[in-house]
Symmetry: C2
Subunit: 478 residues, 2 copies
């Protein structure tokens, strides 16, 4: 594409984006589309000859927008919100333009050194010790996979790197531990590492859905006695269902005593630690062997960017470093080549967007926004608590509110589940807000996750009004 | 960031990008920077308060550009070229703006269905059978890891998903096979899967660096007799060092007979198959169980985008699917949720850039460019062959030329290695072109990889002139 053509369409697209960013009120967060509808509108065969850029951009409004779930929409309250801010979008434009592969220092000194510096800034903001070394991956799932691989590599006496696991009759069975509410990526990491589902033991939680340390200790004792070798414990700071915060200090003590790798999944909740009065969420994490936090979740960086910190980068390196001749450089002894610390060799210039976002908002600007999200969630929790037909289903330590409708005349749990499932469907069918759900002790629970960079009080208020209105409608239908 | 502020800086950045894209001649491909120099210029502590976007953008020229290795530069000839085209950059702007997570159909119908459609287009362009189902990951390393995990899951009788591998006394040792020239990501995949280095057996190559099928057969026989269970064979179409193409038809026959998963690594070379007269590169691949091709390598899509095709998506799904309650949707039975087929849950809207690029260039437009790259490589190979002081070190089936200086008066191999290492250093120290190297049978070899969307004959000619000039200078110094 000739640069002048790029300039023309680039300006056109910037105007489209700026118009879009200023018109969320005119867009619904969820699309009105059925499975297969977009596919049916697209050609089955690839284009033989090139098409004008004008036509391609026109298809954004014609084909893509009607099929979009708008994650950046201020009324997106599902899952955990991933919202990309303006400076993040600008940085991604630049990253796609420069397009380096940050595998080696030599292959892009700027990407390597900016990754080191921004991750050290973030470490300071989260109050983590200087001994924590960081690396960027795409997703928390990939980060935790690397953490578990390091935990396995740390079992020096088993010589995993050399000999692997299958068919070695002298090896013990290996196990990893986490609360019942750990994210499914923990199980997936165990699967790919070859631990199997049997190699994952889930630990019971207390009434606030936090891992019970004494249950963990009991499981470790029981498993050791039965010949298992504990390999890793994962504590979660902000579980996906309810943002419960496992008691990391007590878990860390157990891990230290038992000599087991402690990983902390703070993918969502970790960001809160940059707010002075919320720093407590990472209490005890200075003892973790590794910790993951996702700036693409609650730090306004566009997808994807997950950060793994570890006190033991040399173990991670030992698990993965394999330098082919064609990747050797003259600087290998004096620099950090991030490809040595994991699976992906192709590494985007992700540091740029973290740099832009941290600088544009500043530490204080980010703290102001996160504090506001927590305030909005507390306010919504108060509204739920005060309403006779709703009840809160879990504590609200951060910015997620778990609740359900519970009208006085409905006492049967199955009926309540059906009612709340219908309620969620009715709410999302308005397409004006998007909430998601979970199940707690068999109960269907609505989740309202607040964390979008564009989300204000009026948006949360609107969500709450829609929920109430839809419940009234459902009850009237009966 | 208010939309009008985004508009202002967006336009400013578009002009910066368009100016940059039109001024490669004024930029050197390699930076003049020593390790740590960028770090030293950056603040050690994070910014407390927000900074004006104007200052942040100004730092691109001040701090980032002097530390950039320009992968998009027409004179970048190192590794394999990853070059991002204009339509790819525009698509990334949009992807960062819309910022959906393509984990579920519900979480972004547009991303899911566009991924299905564009991967089917690409499949048709590469001449792969309709039975090939595709999924997007970030890098070939992650793709091959998933392929090997599927190969392991296919060993039904071993119940890997349920019981894993460690400490199961009834399990056989597992092994994977590939040529000595397989990419290091194959070894890394085996490491994370828990096969260990012992679980990887490298097979000898012929004089053209292609896996020798009879050596593979011999290895399989020998290993089975010794109690190993073969799990996967990887054939490479376009090895990283020399772009040799393994004889897939013969390998496929062995894999079929031996009932072993066949994976094909065509991360770079696979794209060539869209050129009618180069379609032969994927001959036999219709029998593969899985195949990887990277549009971010030789298809002008910005990093990152790797595609895994497999005839057995249900095996991949069985290896990884774990659906947490909070991710269940009403459409689960009628749609494809790509998160079910792998580790990453956070999935960017990558289909957009493949869609833009395939449409903007069209099948024919892409074929014209790839054909020209191959022509340029053949021309350079001819220049090398015709020059008395240089020699080609490997066949040039595609667009990579492997060669070295070999003046008549230098016959000692060690001296030749030192000379060629100095030559590469001298060439790259001009910073005007960037070549990389490999070692073949102990010999230091220069690699000139041609594949940039902006690379023309004059750029290759310039590289060849610099190489000759630097050799003359080195020889004169002696």
């Amino acid at each position: 594409m000739p640069p002048e053509e790029f300039r023309r369409y680039g300006h056109q697209l910037i105007d489209w984006i700026a118009d879009f960013l200023s018109s969320y009120d005119a867009h619904r967060v969820l699309p009105a589309i059925n499975p297969g509808e977009l596919r049916a509108q697209l050609p089955q065969a690839p284009p033989q000859t090139g098409e004008p850029m004008h036509d391609i951009l026109a298809d954004i409004d014609r084909l893509i927008m009607p099929a979009m779930t708008h994650w950046n929409h201020p009324e997106f309250f599902a899952y955990f919100v991933s919202s990309g801010s303006g400076p993040g979008i600008l940085a991604e434009m630049l990253s796609a333009t420069l397009n380096p592969n940050a595998m080696l220092w030599k292959s892009c000194p700027a990407a390597t050194e900016l990754e080191q510096v921004t991750l050290d800034w973030l470490r300071q903001m989260l109050g983590l010790p200087e001994t924590f070394w960081g690396i960027m991956y795409d997703s928390a799932s990939i980060s935790i996979m690397h953490a578990l691989a390091a935990a396995r590599e740390q079992l020096n006496d088993l010589a995993m790197r050399e000999h692997g696991m299958a068919g070695r009759k002298e090896l013990p069975r290996l196990r990893v531990y986490a609360s019942e509410h750990v994210h499914s990526s923990f199980d997936k990491a165990a699967l790919i590492l070859g631990l199997g589902q049997a190699g994952v033991r889930k630990i019971a939680v207390d009434e606030q859905f936090r891992l019970r340390p004494e249950a963990l200790q009991h499981a470790l004792n029981e498993d050791r006695a039965a010949g298992w070798r504990p390999m890793c414990v994962t504590a979660t700071v902000g579980t996906t269902s309810i943002t419960s915060i496992d008691p990391v200090p007590a878990i860390a003590e157990i891990c230290k005593r038992e000599n087991v790798w402690l990983h902390v999944d703070a993918a969502y909740g970790g960001s809160a630690a940059l707010v002075p009065e919320l720093r407590w969420v990472l209490e005890g994490c200075e003892h973790a062997d590794s910790l993951v936090v996702n700036p693409h979740k609650w730090l306004f960086v566009p997808l994807d960017l997950s950060v793994l910190y570890t006190r033991k980068p040399e173990v991670l390196r030992r698990a993965f470093s394999l330098v082919a001749e064609y990747l050797r450089t003259a600087q290998d002894r004096e620099v950090e080549n991030f490809m040595d610390y994991g699976i992906p060799l192709g590494r985007r210039f992700r540091a740029l967007k973290l740099w832009f976002v941290l600088r544009y908002f500043g530490w204080e600007g980010l703290a102001v926004r996160l504090r506001e999200h927590v305030r909005l969630a507390q306010q919504l929790a108060g509204w739920v608590d005060a309403h006779p037909e709703f009840e809160r289903m879990a504590p609200t330590p951060l910015s997620l509110v778990c609740f359900r409708a519970h009208p006085a005349h409905v006492q049967n749990e199955e009926e309540l589940n059906r009612l709340n499932e219908s309620l969620l469907e009715a709410v999302n069918n308005t397409r004006e807000v998007f909430l998601s759900h979970t199940k707690l002790n068999g109960r269907f629970v609505l989740r309202c996750a607040i964390g979008g960079v564009r989300t204000e009080e009026r948006h949360v208020r609107k969500a709450w009004e829609i929920v109430q209105k839809q419940l009234a409608r459902l009850l009237a239908l009966k």
